[in-house]
């Protein structure tokens, strides 16, 4: 696989880039979204685009796909100038984009989604459903997508939907695909399958622009990486030989040598011996998890890892009172908490950062202040009143505490960037000063700086004699934990103290104890890069703290 991955890079000199943009500037009113930006991608290349939120990645995608017209700059596909703005069909035959947000329609079948708005030759020609299904079947087979064309999209997994979207994109004839955070909603196994598929397509000569917050994935999949920061192009370099630290430094503009999170993890004070903060005994939620027991001590940050169907998210939600298990007990500081009762969980001292901030976390049109104080409205005034002044003061404290970048406490939370929105959700959870904060994928879709800050904040919370339970399948989240409990198919599979290797944890989440798995070092040709990767990882300061 390495040959195919490296071959395009070698040919790069001879071939014309499948897409080349130079001197692109785009303004929206007073803000400059892109300033003299550039990018060039070779045929069959897998190119990563990374940068913090607001670096200009989304605008570049809009420009490359013909959704936005740049103010200045040139754009060409395979050496020819870009099609006229608004000529949708021409754009689509050159470039396709699989967005973070799904662009297939849940209620319709796979076949119809694949040929949406071109089900028949003309607007008044009837659709021949049988022929359409046959065409869909052929298209899916061509790209090796194992999905029935008659299945409804709503019944597919996220991963299958993405495959359908990729197949649809390719069916327009595009040989260049932009993947905007394709792995955000996949579990580790799904990501591995996606990558396998992408490598296969690459062998067919398809080029990718891969946008991700997960640098690990960039190293795993891509041959070159382009970094944007503050609307500018910072660097383009082969992934191989570019250190993790150098990459982070390019993204943030500052050296990450002194990693505060890892440093904090190193000097962690432990107050073991006192009453445990959380005690879970024999919890069973039929079909999800069985007979689970877990203890979290004061001062501890515990990771609860697992793939999508492992039940780790549901366990976290159960602790916060979102589900009522059939059996088992839950106690905070020795006091039993009523199960399946969110107010009771709150009163017992459990703070909760939900999985999806858009669905469960925020009221988008309301202010930062209101959102941050949603859990503590009883403390904001006498006799059930909520005094605006107290709300504001409380919110200001939270804004300062969590370093939320907002013009004002009264700003609607929808106006904030993803990372800052997530901080508001965390503020809401911490507002009650909980004994235990349960955070589910707390850094999902959050830029690297905010990520480090949030993880550090959970650590600080634990240092105050309290505790945090971080439910995630993100290795970066789990690295900062004192120990990680992995779940597989509703049971606890293994437990690791800090200092585990990526292989160990991924294998445990996959239910496999370190033998013959795809995420293990790949066949001979790639072992070299994999090893250097791990050397880098284990040498990095982020890990140094654990040893």
């Amino acid at each position: 696989m390495a040959d195919t991955a490296q071959a395009p890079a070698a040919q790069a000199v001879a071939t014309v880039p499948v897409v080349e943009a130079a001197g692109i500037t785009k303004r929206f009113g007073a803000t400059v979204a892109l300033r003299d930006a550039k990018i060039a991608i070779d045929p069959g290349e897998s190119h990563a685009l990374v940068g913090r939120n607001g670096a200009g990645k989304s605008t570049l995608v809009s420009v490359l796909t013909g959704i936005q017209q740049p103010d200045t700059g040139t754009l060409s596909f395979s050496g020819k100038p870009a099609p006229a703005f608004g000529d949708t069909d021409a754009w689509r035959s050159r470039v396709a984009c699989v967005y973070q947000r799904s662009t297939v329609i849940g209620g319709l079948t796979v076949a119809e989604n694949l040929f949406l708005n071109r089900q028949s030759e003309g607007g008044f020609r009837p659709i021949r459903w049988k022929a359409l299904r046959a065409r869909a079947e052929a298209l899916l087979a061509e790209y090796g997508v194992d999905v029935s064309p008659t299945a409804r999209i709503a019944d597919l997994t996220v991963e299958q939907r993405q495959f359908v979207e990729i197949a649809r994109a390719l069916s327009f004839g595009a040989r260049f695909i932009i993947l905007d955070e394709p792995t955000a909603k996949l579990d580790a196994r799904g990501i591995e399958r996606l990558f396998t598929k992408l490598r296969g397509l690459q062998e067919q000569g398809v080029a990718f622009l891969f946008i991700s917050h997960h640098l690990q994935e960039v190293y795993e999949l891509c041959t070159r990486v382009t970094v944007y920061r503050d609307a500018r192009h910072i660097l383009t370099a082969p992934v191989e030989g570019l250190g993790h630290d150098a990459l982070v430094e390019a993204m943030t503009g500052e050296s990450s040598a002194a990693d505060p999170v890892a440093a904090a993890a190193a000097s962690r004070p432990r107050t073991v011996g006192s009453q445990p903060v959380l005690e879970v005994r024999g919890l069973t939620l039929p079909g999800v998890y069985t007979d689970l027991s877990l203890t979290v001590q004061a001062g501890e940050v515990v990771g609860l890892a697992g793939a999508t169907a492992s039940g780790n998210v549901q366990l976290g939600e159960t602790v916060a009172g979102l589900h009522r298990p059939r059996a088992g007990q839950l106690a905070v500081r020795g006091r039993t908490v009523r199960l399946g009762d969110i107010p009771a969980a709150l009163a017992a001292g459990i703070g909760f950062v939900p999985e999806d901030r858009h669905l469960q976390g925020l009221v988008p049109e309301r202010s930062v202040a209101e959102n941050a104080t949603l859990t503590v409205t009883d403390q904001l005034g006498p006799f059930g009143t909520v005094l605006p002044s107290r709300t504001r003061d409380f919110a200001r404290r939270m804004i300062e505490d969590l370093d939320i970048k907002t013009p004002d406490a009264a700003t609607p939370v929808s106006a904030l960037s993803g990372g800052n929105q997530q901080k508001v959700v965390v503020a809401r959870a911490l507002a009650t000063e909980p004994e235990l904060v349960v955070a589910i994928r707390p850094t999902n879709g959050v830029d690297i700086k905010s990520k480090e800050f949030l993880l550090g904040r959970f650590r600080r919370h634990a240092e105050q004699g309290r505790a945090a339970l971080i439910v995630s399948d993100e290795l970066d989240d789990l690295r900062t934990c004192d120990r990680v409990v992995t779940m597989f198919h509703g049971r606890i599979a293994a437990e690791y103290p800090a200092g585990w290797t990526d292989e160990q944890l991924v294998a445990a989440m996959e239910g496999i104890a370190g033998t013959g798995h795809p995420t293990q070092p790949r066949p001979t040709d790639l072992t070299d890069t994999t090893e250097t990767e791990h050397e880098r990882d284990t040498k990095g300061p982020r890990h140094g703290g654990h040893h």
């Binding site: 297939v104 329609i105 079948t109 089900q119 009837p126 169907a309 437990e495």
Partner: protein, 345 residues
């Protein structure tokens, strides 16, 4: 640091996931038929309570009674599938004929004084044109000015009802030209023409939704407008067209209604919108857009009409009609929820 291995579970998970879509696809297919058993049960009850039920006179009567409502339901179903709502249909059914009469009837001689501005034969085209205009204005307000569709059409409902009252001075218009009455009162092949027309319109609409790209686009837009846009569908243009078609159908229902009763009554269509929504939703059309068929919507209309008919035949006091009408809506909703197995939210 031992991890428990369960490789068996991992390999079994994949085929299990693959078989799920097929089963629920079948359920989704039956969703539109969920009211058919209800109709059969109603027919059985009707047969038991009265010998008059299963006569062609009675059944054709029910069918004709259903025509006007069913045209509104046809329009509303299309609008709901595309993800919008139009409350003003119930006023369009009244105001469009009144404006047509106003323009074609002579300015003196009759009880109602028109303008006499247009020849009599233009009555139906003018009526349909008024419908198209109403739909176009609603579409402009909703799609161009980006106003809230529910409130816009609520305003239009009140405004158009007021326009009708103002023009007709609150009176029924009885001197209706014969050309305007013809479709609503005549019979073809032993059944009211209105029934045939409705059947044809439902068949045409159903076929367009099933086999035309632009028909399928309605489901795409209602399911996920943003995704439809990225697929190259002209979302606003199609939505606008659907709003216009809905209003034209309502105006046409006004033609049939006027022919059926021989006059344009002052409160023609008043209060119908609740029935329209009830019929459409119990027929399996989602209020959130993107789901439902015209056949389902038609069974919804028939269910509501048949209940009234059976109740009348059974001698239920008419004062209980409203109560029972509401009850049947809720019961039908429960039935269609469990027949389809899908939550309605």
């Amino acid at each position: 640091m031992a991890a428990i291995t369960e490789p068996g579970l991992a390999s079994e998970a994949a085929p299990a996931a693959a078989s799920v879509p097929r089963r629920s696809l079948n359920l989704a297919r039956y969703r539109d038929l969920s009211l058919v058993p209800v109709l059969l049960v109603l027919a059985l009850i009707g047969f038991i309570v009265s010998p008059a039920f299963l006569t062609s006179a009675n059944l054709l009567g029910v069918a004709q009674q259903s025509t006007e409502l069913s045209l509104l339901v046809l329009g509303e179903a299309l609008i709901l599938v595309v993800g919008k709502m139009d409350l003003s249909l119930e006023s369009t059914i009244g105001v469009a004929p009144v404006i047509a009469m106003w323009l074609v009837l002579p300015s003196h001689g009759g009880r109602f004084q028109g303008l006499g501005a247009l020849p009599t034969w233009t009555a139906i085209p003018v009526c349909l044109l008024v419908g198209a205009l109403i739909g176009a204005v609603n579409g402009f307000l909703i799609l161009k000015l980006r106003l809230n569709g529910f409130i816009v059409t609520l305003g239009a409902l009140t405004m158009l009802r007021g326009l009708q009252v103002a023009i007709s001075q609150g009176q029924s218009i009885v001197e209706v030209p014969n050309s305007f009455l013809y479709l609503g009162e005549t019979s073809w092949l032993g059944a009211p023409a209105a029934v045939w027309i409705c059947l044809v319109l439902f068949a045409v609409g159903g076929a367009a939704l099933a086999w035309l790209r632009h028909g399928r686009a309605l489901y795409a837009i209602g399911g996920n407008a943003e995704a439809a846009r990225t697929a190259g569908i002209r979302v606003d243009r199609i939505t606008w067209t659907v709003l216009i078609i809905g209003s034209v159908l309502a105006a046409f229902a006004g033609v049939l209604y006027t022919g059926h009763y021989g006059s344009v009554s002052a409160d023609q269509g008043s209060g119908w919108i609740f029935q329209v929504f009830a019929a459409t939703v119990i027929g399996g059309v989602s209020l959130n857009g993107g789901k439902g068929t015209l056949f389902g919507a038609l069974t919804g209309v028939l269910t509501l009409q048949l209940v009234v008919n059976v109740m009348t035949l059974a001698g239920v006091p008419p004062l209980w009609n409203q109560f029972l009408n509401g009850l049947i809506i809720i019961v039908a909703l429960i039935i269609s929820r469990y027949a389809s197995g899908e939550k309605q939210e």
